[in-house]
Symmetry: C2
Subunit: 293 residues, 2 copies
């Protein structure tokens, strides 16, 4: 697929995801965090366009470079805005997906999924080093006392070198406790499942694009414990968030209940970042497949 | 300047402009019109990226093509969203400015202003035909009983051909009643004046980027009668809007007063579209000159 078409689809996905509201706990067009505001996400979505385009172009030439592109995406993002981490998780997912879309002649769900999976399987130690080296710059706020997260410090970079771990190999380790890693090594299952769900919601007459996105977001929050919350605040909090989301989904996505849930999570600083990242990736697939506003 | 840098600056300007709120009468992140919603502006900003990049690239090679690029920008915009006119006026301003920025080695206010002015002066009859032919597709909603607007129908296309009018020549005619045309043939005076004002506002410590934009918007609304309102609703309405904006500015941009003004204009469907277009162009210059979120 044309590289500018792919890049625009991915960029629009990032913009629609962050704009959708109310989206309990995360930045949206009506909710900022103190250091990370809505405008930082707009600027970051703008900043990474050339990287998304290059991902599609490399894909079309069957070239590699997942790690380098993610690293350059983070660098562009922080050069254009001062709000810290906005799109680290989203870029992890969008870069291989954009490469896969670039490699396909036309839109084909199965083929893009297969190709993206293959691109991740073919990653190298170089890809791993790029991603782990740029990680501190992305300023992802995680508790430093979570042992699993040691993989993201200098010791882990040494380990990658010593054991010659590819990006795929090291993400296989983190897949047990991080849903983004699980997507990347597990064939992007949730991404494609929720792309189909967004398309279903959007095809309903009484549901606009904003609500299609927030409903899909709540459904994912209800289906899967957000591992970013687990890592940052512990499993009790992420279980609580999941159960509350389940309650809202069961009762039919009532606006007032969603808004109260949003206010509660924003107040406590509980941001289900991984869920938002997967919804952004799912939206990219939806848009590629023809979803329009 | 680098073409992707120029395109990103212009795109971010479009996104920050439409997101800024409350922005009396226009679509913002919290206000939609029935047919044209906030998401349509997001999609349109995404859609035109390759055109903005090409404008910068052509500028760097001293090539022409203002009319063709505006026409292609409109085509891309309507291919990516179904909300009608979003960025026709903004594209008229951003295309020659992006070409001028592309032609400059580095950021230089005077040089970009001079170059953009020259690019407009050098437009041809072909440029005029491109813009006037694509105009109906842009679905700009104007009263068809305003005599001056006959220039935008088929008769005007014949007139362009017969009199061999360049884009510059025909915009010189409309400059007397349309502030966008006035910008395009008058050296982009307001654009650069308000770019400086946005930078001033943004440098104040208690003002965030959103308020810097809405304050500049209100100041322009107070300084100049919005000609889009004049053309669509008549001079009494545009005078009223200007006076109310003057009242708000004089009283120090009180949030509650801005919100009430916004609700009033939205209720009556009075959208000062030309003012928003000039603020988008001004923001582009601000960002090029270093403004960051």
């Amino acid at each position: 697929m044309n590289e500018d078409y792919v890049a625009r689809s991915a960029q629009l996905a990032m913009l629609l995801e962050v704009s959708a509201y109310p989206k309990p706990g995360n930045v949206d067009r009506t909710h900022d965090y103190i250091d990370t505001r809505y405008e930082h996400f707009l600027a970051s979505s703008v900043a990474v366009y050339p990287i998304l385009r290059e991902a599609a172009a490399r894909g079309s030439r069957n070239e590699r470079g997942v790690g380098e592109l993610i690293s350059r995406g983070v660098e562009e993002s922080i050069a254009w805005q001062h709000g810290g981490n906005t799109h680290f998780g989203a870029l992890l997912l969008l870069v291989p997906l954009a490469m896969a879309a670039g490699a396909c002649e036309r839109y084909d769900t199965k083929e893009i999924k297969r190709k993206a999976t293959e691109i991740m399987q073919n990653t190298s130690m170089g890809d791993a080093l790029e991603v782990y080296t740029v990680f501190p710059k992305a300023k992802v706020k995680v508790r430093r006392d979570v042992p699993e997260l040691d993989v993201m410090d200098e010791a882990s970079i040494n380990e990658i070198r010593e054991k010659k771990l590819s990006l795929y190999a090291i993400l296989t380790i983190s897949a047990s406790y991080d849903m983004i890693s699980q997507e990347l090594v597990g064939g992007f299952e949730k991404t494609f499942e929720y792309a189909a769900l967004i398309n279903d919601f959007a095809s309903e007459e009484r549901i606009n694009i904003n609500d299609a996105i927030t409903h899909a977001y709540l459904r994912l929050l209800a289906d899967e414990e957000d591992t970013f919350i687990t890592m940052k605040f512990g499993p009790e909090k992420s279980k609580y968030v999941q159960q509350k989301a389940q309650w809202i989904v069961t009762r039919g996505y009532k606006r007032k209940e969603i808004e109260e849930f949003d206010e509660e999570l924003i107040r406590e600083g509980l941001n289900p970042g991984s869920t938002a990242d997967i919804i952004a990736a799912a939206l990219f697939i939806s848009i590629l497949s023809g979803l329009r506003v």
